[in-house]
């Protein structure tokens, strides 16, 4: 299935990883004042590259491969873009570009303005995250993936404390420490695998791994390490303060993309490196943690008084849905790929919707000078586009059509019925209800009248409102994906999709 030669246009994969790195190097050479301008040039180029990779994989229904330096694994390193990586890269590129446009209002460096450390650092971190994510989705070697993941973490952590407040520094440290615990577990698993099978190349591993204790232990350790970085309930201690404390464009990228990086690796691990290794019970455990996240995260979101914390808890809940992929993709009937497609669509639509929501929250906070939900009355008159963006993104989270969230939920629900695992359906429906609760809790206030005349802090530009709206519309447009297993997302899958041995 996997070509062992560099395919035509394989160089695009290298470009996708290197382009942000080049940007970082250039800005170090040219000086921090120019980093925004450099980023503004590179962002659209990167978007075009991601779109080209997506288009090629879609057109040819075949993975793109690049063998770095012509050295084949296990000696060398391979980059591979299958269906899920291509879709993930495009999502990443769109969200990063939108974030870049949005962030100009906060971290812009107009000509002649003084050098501000936060601005310089922001753009470099944004590029770092982009490169890290591209490496995560393209890497084909468990150790390389570890390095990519660390790059991602170390670009993400400073983003949290960019403002330099005491509590954000505390949140960032908390994030970093827990992520490092995760890294240790992941690394431990990698060592075990290398010791047992003598390779870390995913394609080679899939042929060598046997269902035996060492593989099970290694896989469990790596999974738990990645779960810590994904902030799956109940390992979410770092997420709310970090995602709520970061500046709005930072929160957008962290919530929409960064937590998905480690999730992506969990999927790589179970579906590509060790297919057929997971048993029913462990699939149920991952699903149960996901279910806990959905219910618990949503209930806590409902209890929040501040918008950014509400959105952060909503992220915890929405991540939970992704883990229904594992219990629901057992066996190899065609319906399996229903859960597969549903799970990925949940990831993509949540990425757009959540980025849009955090941007909207940032705009509201700038306009009002605070983000206390109880005092939102009347903002609809001031920044209607932002409120619409928040509402549309919220509808996608609730799973209301037409939206990617609806398609995702529909497919996942179909899978629960087909697999006879109705308990996940109950969780999904309750999760949708609770999401409706917290979305309308905010909208109800925003659409109401002000109890006292609104004191406006800073006016926000229409352009930034439109960026938030565009992302929300992306989530809505994903709702036009046909309600069936996507062919693109199956490109590069092994013949038997089931992750759970039967």
């Amino acid at each position: 299935v996997i070509p062992d030669q560099t395919t035509a246009n394989g160089y695009l994969l290298v470009l996708a990883i290197m382009l942000p790195v080049i940007g970082i190097l250039l800005s170090l050479a040219a000086g921090g004042r120019y980093v925004e301008r450099i980023a503004m040039v590179l962002l659209p180029v990167g978007l075009v590259i991601a779109a080209a990779i997506f288009g090629l994989v879609w057109r040819d229904q075949q993975s793109l491969v690049y063998i770095v330096g012509g050295w084949h694994p296990p000696l060398g390193v391979a980059l591979r873009a299958d269906g899920i990586s291509a879709a993930m890269m495009l999502t990443t590129a769109i969200v990063i570009c939108a974030t870049g446009l949005f962030a100009r209002g906060e971290f812009g460096q107009p000509r002649g303005s003084p050098e501000i450390r936060a601005s310089q650092v922001f753009w470099i971190l944004l590029l770092g995250i982009w490169s890290g994510l591209n490496t995560v989705v393209l890497g084909d070697d468990l150790f390389n993936l570890y390095v990519a993941l660390e790059l991602l973490t170390f670009a993400a952590v400073p983003l949290v404390s960019l403002k330099g407040y005491k509590e954000t520094i505390k949140a960032a440290l908390r994030y970093m420490l827990f992520a490092l615990f995760g890294s240790v577990l992941y690394l431990l698993g990698t060592v075990l695998i290398y010791g047992a099978y003598g390779t870390l190349d995913i394609a080679m591993l899939s042929g060598r791994v046997h269902p035996e204790p060492v593989a099970w232990i290694a896989a469990s350790l790596m999974t738990m390490g990645l779960l810590a970085k994904t902030a799956l309930f109940p390992l979410h201690l770092w997420l709310p303060p970090a995602h709520a404390g970061a500046p709005a464009p930072g929160s957008a990228v962290l919530s929409a993309l960064v937590v998905k990086g480690s999730f992506f690796l969990i999927v790589r691990l179970w579906f590509d490196a060790m297919p057929g290794l997971m048993n029913f019970a462990s699939g149920q455990i991952l699903g149960t943690l996901g279910a806990g996240a959905v219910i618990f995260g949503s209930v806590l979101a409902l209890r929040q008084q501040r918008l950014k914390l509400l959105i952060a808890y909503s992220t915890i809940a929405q991540i939970g849905y992704l883990f229904f992929i594992f219990p629901l993709t057992a066996g190899n009937e065609p319906w399996d790929s229903v859960a597969w497609t549903g799970g990925w669509l949940q990831l993509f639509s949540h990425a757009f919707a959540k980025a849009s929501m955090f941007m909207a929250a940032g705009l509201i906070a700038e306009t009002l000078g605070h983000d206390r939900i109880a005092e939102f009355g009347g903002i609809n008159r001031v920044i209607p586009i932002t409120v619409i963006a928040f509402g549309l993104a919220g509808l996608s989270l609730m799973g209301v059509p037409p939206s990617g969230g609806f398609v995702a939920k529909w497919l996942l629900l179909l899978a629960t019925v087909m697999e006879g695992q109705w308990w996940w359906a109950v969780v999904m429906l309750v999760g949708g209800l609770l999401a409706g609760g917290y979305v309308f809790m905010v909208l109800g206030k925003a659409l109401g009248n002000a109890s006292a005349p609104l004191k406006l802090a800073t006016p926000v530009s229409r352009a930034r409102e439109i960026v938030a709206l565009t992302l929300a519309l992306c989530a809505v447009l994903l709702g036009l994906v046909p309600l069936q297993p996507s062919e693109l997302l199956q490109v590069g899958r092994p013949e038997v999709l089931g992750v759970i041995a039967r």
């Binding site: 827990f178 615990f181 577990l185 269902p211 204790p213 099970w216 232990i217 896989a219 469990s220 350790l221 999974t223 738990m224 779960l227 810590a228 309930f233 109940p234 390992l235 979410h236 201690l237 709310p240 290794l277 997971m278 048993n279 029913f280 019970a281 462990s282 455990i285 943690l289 618990f296 209930v299 806590l300 209890r303 609809n380 799973g399 209301v400 059509p401 037409p402 939920k409 529909w410 629900l413 179909l414 019925v417 087909m418 359906a425 429906l429 309750v430 949708g432 209800l433 409706g436 609760g437 309308f440 109800g444 659409l447 109401g448 009248n449 709702g479 036009l480 046909p482 309600l483 069936q484």
Partner: protein, 543 residues
């Protein structure tokens, strides 16, 4: 113009108007244009043939719109109400500061309300159903009073709950549908033999039952209709609620007798029919009385659906649609009558009272009214047995409730501070009143209940008259001794549900405290290790 184009315009025109609302200038003028939005729907209902179908391109999900006889009846009548209420809204919004916002919510609700009558596949049905349910929230809370906010919160919670029920029902339908077809017709045809028939029906009945306000899901109706502005209450009670009715019509397999589900619907429907009357007569706000009358009327319709399932009566869809069209006009009209705002001492008050009396008492089945025809149309499905007897009792109850409404109408009009009444406010009411008196006679031939002359036979006239007489006598008793009735708060069961809110609050606090513990370092560390051990354990033991 081809039928397909008409179907497309029915959706496209309100959507285009909605899109135009992006411009603040057009938005502010939109209230006066509102009556134009439902015009294509009215034309589509009149001019398109039974079975006209429009399949949208694949890019638009291949949504399929189609029109059949029950759909056309409901679509046309609902469009008429939307037009009349739109005229009223346009006049009323002149005194409001943010008419543009009202118009935006109005157009969204309208699109969903009309679209749902034409939806032929599950996705478009769910789309329009969601639109009409969720967008109505904006109309309910428009006045932004504490009562409106409370009603809005309850409304949206139950609407979202209904969405969840329906989604699950549709998933069960889709799984049992041949070749994964999403067309409602295919899925419903396969339903009786599907392995998922029972769960599908359970969720569908819950979802649609919630929409039409079957007890105990009726709590949103009195609060919402009372809090919403008059034109909104008119379209919500008249047109929007019929999304649930068309749901039952489209999704219940009336060709096959399904024991159990039919009886259940009959029982729930009859209970609602009497419950609405019993609580309705204790209410003093005429809007609330109308809301409880809706609970009762929709309960009667649910009974008809239930009997259709019990007896495998494939004539039920048309009969029920006819019954519902009468309710659209009468209920929507009576809300508009409340909005005329004419003091009862003014000489022209008879213009409000007289047609209102005909419509209201007609709802109970007064001979020669649309209500009598509606009762006649569903007579066959209801049968002559116990259910038929209950239906007559319910007609008596309806008459009683409507006499009570008329009295509250007069009383509230005499106290009403709204003084000036414009012709523009009275005109829509009169149009709907005339429509409600005439249209049922025009449509009756399509209702499949035999020739129109039968309705004029002395036997039928008497059958329609005597329950009304008893109702009238009971109404006199109610006026005389009514003050002795206990006072039931609007939204009855919900108002008593404070303990539920308290329980929810305790649960929320508990969740917060748990979260605090989970987010302590020691706890998170222990959990990380414990979960690792558990995962390894299941991997080792599971093989």
């Amino acid at each position: 113009m081809s039928a397909g184009a008409l179907l497309a315009l029915t959706i496209a025109v309100p959507l285009a108007m909605l899109a135009a609302c992006v411009s603040a200038r057009i938005r502010d003028r939109m209230p006066t244009l509102l009556p134009l939005a439902p015009l294509p729907a009215l034309m589509a209902a009149i001019f398109s043939n039974d079975g006209s179908t429009l399949v949208l391109p694949q890019v638009l999900l291949g949504l399929t719109l189609a029109i059949d006889r029950p759909g056309a009846m409901l679509l046309g009548t609902a469009a008429l109400l939307w037009i009349a209420a739109g005229v009223y809204a346009g006049a009323w919004l002149r005194s409001q500061s943010n008419g543009g916002r009202f118009a935006t919510w109005w157009l969204m609700t309208l699109t969903g309300s009309l679209g749902v009558f034409m939806a032929a596949d599950m996705v478009s049905f769910y789309l329009f159903f969601t639109l009409v349910s969720l967008a109505a929230y904006g109309l309910v809370v428009f006045d932004d009073t504490p009562a409106a906010r409370r009603a809005g919160a309850l409304y949206i919670s139950l609407a979202v709950l209904g969405e969840a029920f329906l989604l699950m029902g549709f998933v069960f339908l889709a799984v049992g549908s041949p070749d994964g077809s999403l067309l409602i017709r295919d899925a419903v045809a396969a339903l009786p033999t599907s392995a998922w028939c029972d769960p599908a029906l359970a969720f569908l009945i819950l979802g649609f039952g919630l929409k039409i306000g079957l007890v105990p899901f009726h709590v949103w109706m009195p609060l919402t209709y009372t809090a919403a502005p008059i034109p909104a209450a008119a379209v919500l009670s008249g047109a929007a609620v019929k999304a649930g009715v068309i749901g039952f019509i489209r999704f219940l397999p009336f060709d096959t007798a399904l024991t159990g589900w039919g009886e259940l619907l009959v029982a729930a429907g009859l209970f609602s029919a009497f419950y609405g009357v019993a609580v309705g007569i204790t209410q003093s706000n005429p809007k609330t009385v109308l809301a409880y009358s809706s609970v009762s009327q929709m309960g009667m319709l649910a009974t008809v659906f239930g009997m259709g399932l019990v007896t495998a009566d494939s004539g039920v869809p048309v009969a029920a649609a006819f019954y519902a069209t009468n309710h659209i006009l009468v209920k929507g009209g009576l809300f508009l009558a409340l909005g005329v705002g004419m003091p009862s001492r003014v000489r022209g008050f008879w213009m409000v009272l007289l047609p209102a009396a005909v419509l209201a008492i007609g709802l109970g089945g007064l001979p020669l009214t649309g209500g009598a025809l509606a009762k006649l149309a569903v007579k066959a499905p209801l049968g002559d047995g116990v259910v038929g007897a209950f239906a007559i009792l319910s007609a008596i109850g309806s008459t009683l409730l409507m006499f009570h409404f008329l009295r509250r109408l007069v009383l509230s009009a005499s106290h009403d501070s709204q003084t000036a009444t414009s012709v523009r406010a009275a005109l829509p009411w009169l149009v709907i009143a005339v429509g409600a008196m005439v249209l049922p006679w025009v449509l009756f031939a399509q209702a499949g209940a035999g020739p129109l002359l039968d309705a004029l036979a002395p036997k039928e006239l008497w059958a329609a008259l005597w329950p009304g007489l008893i109702g009238g006598i009971l109404a006199i008793g109610l006026w005389r001794w009514g003050y002795r009735l206990p006072h039931v708060p609007e939204g009855d069961v919900f108002a008593a549900g404070n303990s539920a809110t308290r329980a929810a609050r305790i649960l929320g606090t508990l969740a917060e405290r748990t979260d605090w513990y989970l987010r302590q370092w020691q706890m998170a560390g222990v959990l990380l290790l414990a979960l690792t051990v558990i995962l390894i354990g299941t991997m080792l033991t599971g093989h």
